[in-house]
Amino acid sequence: MRRSVSIAGLAAALVLGTLGFGTGRKSYVASAQEKTSTTEVKIDNFSFGPVTLTVPVGATVTWTNRDDIPHTVVSTDDAKTFKSKVLDTDEKFSFTFSKAGTYPYFCSIHPKMTAKVIVQ
């Protein structure tokens, strides 16, 4: 019981950290919280979910591969703004978006898998 409480506390701290608590910009954080119910993308059945994720500037997005087959998370632009190593089952990749914009990405192993992150 004690353990689960501490994990919940840790998770809350992580979420709050992601949203920028502690920076003193509380009004910004409140609006960001409304926009981002999640910063998680799940890879299931050869697809990214949600296909379009909208997050505030500064948000860290975490992808988790829940398939039996490895996938990657690679931004589509030539500069490859973000590029994970290959993610086996249950492995994660995180990227912090510091600039506003639309970031299309795909799985470089299964290129039919495409999605995007919108940073506002």
Binding site: F46, D68, I69, P70, P104, S108, K112, T114
Partner: protein
Amino acid sequence: MSEKKKDELVHDHNHDGIDRRGFLKCMAWAGTGAFCVIQGGVLKSYSLSRLPEPGSKEAMGELSFVQISDSHMGFNKPANPDVAGTLKAAVDKINGLSAAPEFMLHTGDISHLSKPEEFDTVDQILKSAKPKDVFYVPGEHDVLNDDGKQFLERYGKGSKGAGWYSFDKKGVHFVGLVNVMNLKAGGLGTLGHEQLEWLEDDVKHLKHSTPIVVFAHIPLWSVYPEWGWGTEDSAQALAYLKKFGSVTVLNGHIHQTMQKVEGNVTFHTAASTAFPQPAPGKADSPGPMKVPAEQLKSVLGITDVNYVQGQHALAVVDSTLA
């Protein structure tokens, strides 16, 4: 095989530029087997239970080789927790063939995660196969993280570019192509300009009567583009092969056997030695298909190919590991 599955292929408008007159098709699904012979452009197929008599001209040939594919060493999920065991079973099957194959083709996804120890395990298991020469092309699982550097170091000696090459055996010209590199978002397999130019040059000097065998990981025909089961620029490659009387295309990637004959070209995909994948569109995704353990070997397999000189025919036989 249901009518619906047939229709999916018939209506697969893949813009591959192939003349569809004389279109013939033969599909053999995982768990079954078929023996197909093309003579003078006419396809003859036999079920595995009615194979030609051993020693007959259909069963014998100047050249016999085996294709294996998608061994996915390192995969350990419920669809097959023992991919080393099933690869060994494939080797046993090969060693038990009545006409000893001269060599093997491995059409990619040797490893699951491109780990050195995965390649090592496959190399070790294949050492016990009677045919000593193995010709490889990479699958997308063999070129993870390093753009195929390790694959080239291990298997690409004497190859060009990302690992393509050709060789001749008893009058048959073999071409190994690579279509798993530089995949673009939303796209299919890709051969690329450099490789296509090389292919055009490679086959230019050959007589039209030379039998051609092309092998590559991802199918060179549009099996099911929605799942990425096809190659963007395969039409260009096939255009360079149009002048030849007999072209056999051997692929892997889709973990099930399938055949299609169009004009002078026979397309064939091999079963995996590791785990089956669903028929096109028959599941939410092309992920590993779990079958009851006792059925697993009936949906895995090897492909035995025989060439009979002067017959314009390559005979392709799929056998399961069961």
